[in-house]
């Protein structure tokens, strides 16, 4: 009898576990694979494509259809694998460098890109296919994924960083976000918001360096010096983080679950209306429309506050470079396709339509019928039109350099230093000096 019961129990356990796996597979284990036909015929070449953002696959799906109908003799089927961020980069790095098992096409995030450029890059230079588009796309976005004059990755977006304000909370507190020009304005508004509503004006990010980057960019500074060597205890970063610390002490900003606005926990916090502002690159828009649906019609975009009026009010944050590996089945075809899917005018229009990113072909920014299309999900969601804001800061978008030391530098800041400052209250100067020492030690 007891044995029978044990067996039943075991079976029950197995069923439960299997059910559990089904739910969790999206998070950490494995990945998802699907083959996009895009109207391709029998003779189409199948190319494999790895990405860490499911949405990127949707964009390629659209571009694939257009490509296949325009190039009947060079049709493509795309085998898309979506994997979690770390997993994909680790797997890709090993596959690319050992020359076994690499996909034909892959997305590499900007923060990881320098790792793939170390030594002799095992990626295909894309200069020839990018050449026709020079002049139409932002040059600095091509340079971002280059080494010694060779372009290895094709950028997806500018990633102009803006402020996302929850107008509902601000109205309750009697704050007009349009009047916030400087950090001092932001502080006063935040104090008012906290007094009137008990909510926080913004976040103190501990697990990502977007805020640190934007504060450096507006002061014309960087994480690294002119030789690409890390310099994180610079007066500019001390000033920037001390300002945030002051905001935190005045209960204007507070740390958030997940550590930064672009995490699952934080989506929940924002959606519940516990934080009024996020300072994030423009691609955060797609997170709002996908994960924070309760806030539809309440979020307004605005240029970032600055220390003093006249400072540049944005910087290009994050990014994804699409690459072709050296082991690709048909290198020429893969290169032509990604150039078409990432750099052509059509592609840039679709990048806005599908993904809600700010395209690197800036002429799209002026195409009213595209940017102000009332049917567009992003136009519908936000209080004001994103491109009205983008065009007002167009000339002010700074860049933070990506060097071979960037992955290490970012890792130290966003696992250790920012936590020490905002969670433990460690002195800013001291924390950054320690970070500098740690980074130098790791790079030895």
């Amino acid at each position: 009898m007891s044995r029978k019961r044990l067996i039943t129990l075991t079976m029950l356990c197995l069923v439960l576990i299997l059910a559990g796996c089904g739910g969790a597979s999206k998070g950490n284990s494995g990945g998802e694979t699907s083959v996009l036909e895009g109207g391709a015929g029998e003779k189409a070449t199948e190319l494999s494509y790895w990405t860490f953002v499911e949405l990127h696959g949707q964009h390629f799906e659209k571009m694939l259809e257009k490509w296949n109908s325009a190039n009947p003799d060079r049709q493509i089927k795309l085998n898309v694998s979506v994997m979690p961020y770390d997993d994909m980069h680790n797997k890709l790095s090993i596959a690319v460098q050992t020359g076994v098992g690499a996909p034909d096409i892959a997305d590499i995030e900007l923060g990881k890109f320098p790792d793939f450029l170390a030594g002799t890059p095992q990626l295909e230079p894309l200069n020839d296919v990018a050449e026709p588009y020079k002049g139409t796309v932002v040059q600095s976005q091509l340079d971002l994924y280059s080494k010694e004059g060779n372009i290895y990755g094709l950028s997806t977006h500018v990633g102009a960083t803006v402020a996302f304000y929850n107008t509902e909370i601000l109205e309750q507190a009697g704050v007009d976000y349009k009047q916030i020009k400087t950090w001092e304005d932001f502080k006063q508004a935040g104090i008012q918001v906290h007094e009137k509503t008990g909510k926080y004006m913004g976040t103190a990010d501990t697990s990502a360096s977007w805020q640190a980057s934007l504060l450096l960019a507006q002061q014309g500074a960087d994480f690294t010096d002119e030789n690409g060597q890390p310099k994180v205890n610079s007066p500019e970063l001390v000033k920037g983080l001390s300002m945030l610390k002051d905001l935190q002490e005045n209960e204007v900003i507070a740390t958030i679950a997940g550590g930064q606005p672009d995490t699952e926990e934080a989506y929940g916090e924002f959606n519940a209306g516990n934080y009024a502002t996020a300072f994030m690159p423009l691609w955060q828009m797609s997170r709002y429309t996908n994960y924070m649906t309760d806030l539809s019609g309440k979020i307004a975009l605005a240029p970032l506050p600055v220390f003093e009026e006249g400072m540049p009010r944005s910087y290009g944050g994050g990014g994804t470079g699409t690459v072709v590996t050296q082991k690709a089945k048909d290198i020429k075809l893969a290169k032509d396709f990604i150039a078409y899917a990432k750099l052509s005018l059509d592609a840039n229009v679709e990048i806005w339509n599908t993904l809600g990113f700010d395209p690197i072909n800036m002429s799209v920014w002026d195409m009213k019928e595209v940017t102000h299309n009332p049917e567009n999900q992003f136009v519908k969601y936000f209080v004001n039109n994103p491109f009205d804001v983008l065009n007002s800061i167009k000339e002010e978008i700074q860049l933070i350099k990506s060097t071979s030391t960037s992955p290490t530098l970012n890792n130290v800041l966003s696992t250790v230093t920012l936590n020490e400052i905002f969670e433990d209250g460690k002195d800013v100067q001291q924390a950054l000096d320690d970070a500098q020492a740690q980074i130098e030690q790791e790079l030895k």
């Binding site: 998070g27 090993i94 020359g99 501990t206 936590n419 030690q441």
Partner: protein, 297 residues
């Protein structure tokens, strides 16, 4: 000739152990030797490795993150030993008592967690120990008027979550080891003790514990190794290998970070060799102290 060879009593034993020896050499000795060699090189995948002497080891000695990882692993090992040896032993004794009510049910209930995947368990524990007011642990604490705690951001609280996960997962497994050990203790000893008027506590300390010694040594040995080599639990609990301030970083996690995430395989090999030395030293000392190497009379 061939027949002689096949029927030879001298050769046969070697033929029989050959599969094991091959597996041992190919999957254990070769990788070990290879990583030992690698620990003296600067290895970049796809490119020529360069000999750097003991550079990797000297760098390791000045690496505070590495020491943090060693500290975490050691602490985790000690805490799991303190919890996962006495409690499973106690539970096993209860389960072994035929007057114990519902013991089959408890046996499966305790063993059940070991069947779940660490990925699922880690994810569930991460949500349970979330820092929001609404997460399970915080809402329980909330009913006692305790403010929400950011469990996974602090060293102590983070370890509470980690140890809770480990205990939940491994208690049943260790209990089964002890149960099988208990089955081998003859009932006569207990009867004799009862006749002599021994109390339950005396029976436990004088009969059960000494006779369970071989099982205890076995559990201790594998627990020391498992504690030092822990990686996935931490990775799942913190949703990645980068916990805030490295509070959940283990030695193997650091090896993974250097070797896989940073492509610094030579340095990672040095980390691995140091882990091997630490684990061997602790295990050999413990085995020697418990008298395993003494010649049996």
């Amino acid at each position: 000739m061939l027949k002689n060879f096949l029927y030879s009593q001298k050769v046969a034993p070697y033929v029989f152990v050959l599969p094991f020896v091959l597996v041992f050499v190919i999957f254990w000795v070769y990788p070990l030797a290879s990583s030992f060699g690698m620990s003296f090189q600067k290895v970049t995948l796809g490119q020529e490795a360069a000999w750097v002497g003991i550079d990797n080891y000297t760098k390791l000695m000045g690496d505070t993150v590495f020491f943090k990882a060693v500290g975490n692993s050691a602490l985790y090992m000690v805490l799991t030993l303190v919890i996962l040896i006495p409690f499973p032993m106690l539970f096993a004794v209860w389960m072994n008592n035929k007057f114990m009510w519902g013991r089959e049910w408890f046996k499966s209930a305790f063993f059940f967690p070991a069947l779940t995947s660490v990925v699922v368990a880690g994810t569930v524990f991460r949500l349970m120990f979330g820092e929001m007011e609404g997460s399970l642990i915080n809402s329980i604490l909330g009913t006692f008027g305790v403010e929400p705690i950011k469990f996974l951001k602090g060293q102590t609280t983070g370890f509470i979550a980690l140890i809770a996960l480990a205990s939940w997962r491994w208690l049943g497994v260790n209990m089964l080891y002890f149960l099988s050990g208990l089955q081998n203790i003859p009932k006569d000893y207990y009867e004799a003790a009862s006749i002599d008027g021994a109390s339950a506590v005396q029976k436990f300390t004088r009969i059960t514990m000494p006779l369970l010694k071989p099982t205890t040594i076995y559990v201790l040995t594998i627990s020391i190794y498992a504690g030092l080599a822990m990686f996935i639990e931490s990775m799942m609990l913190w949703n990645g290998n980068n916990s805030p301030k490295n509070i959940g970083l283990t030695i193997v996690g650091y090896l993974y970070r250097q070797g896989i995430e940073k492509n610094n395989l030579g340095y990672a090999a040095a980390v691995g060799i140091v882990l091997l030395i630490i684990a061997m030293a602790i295990n050999l000392t413990q085995l020697a102290l418990s008298g395993l190497f003494k010649k049996e009379d």
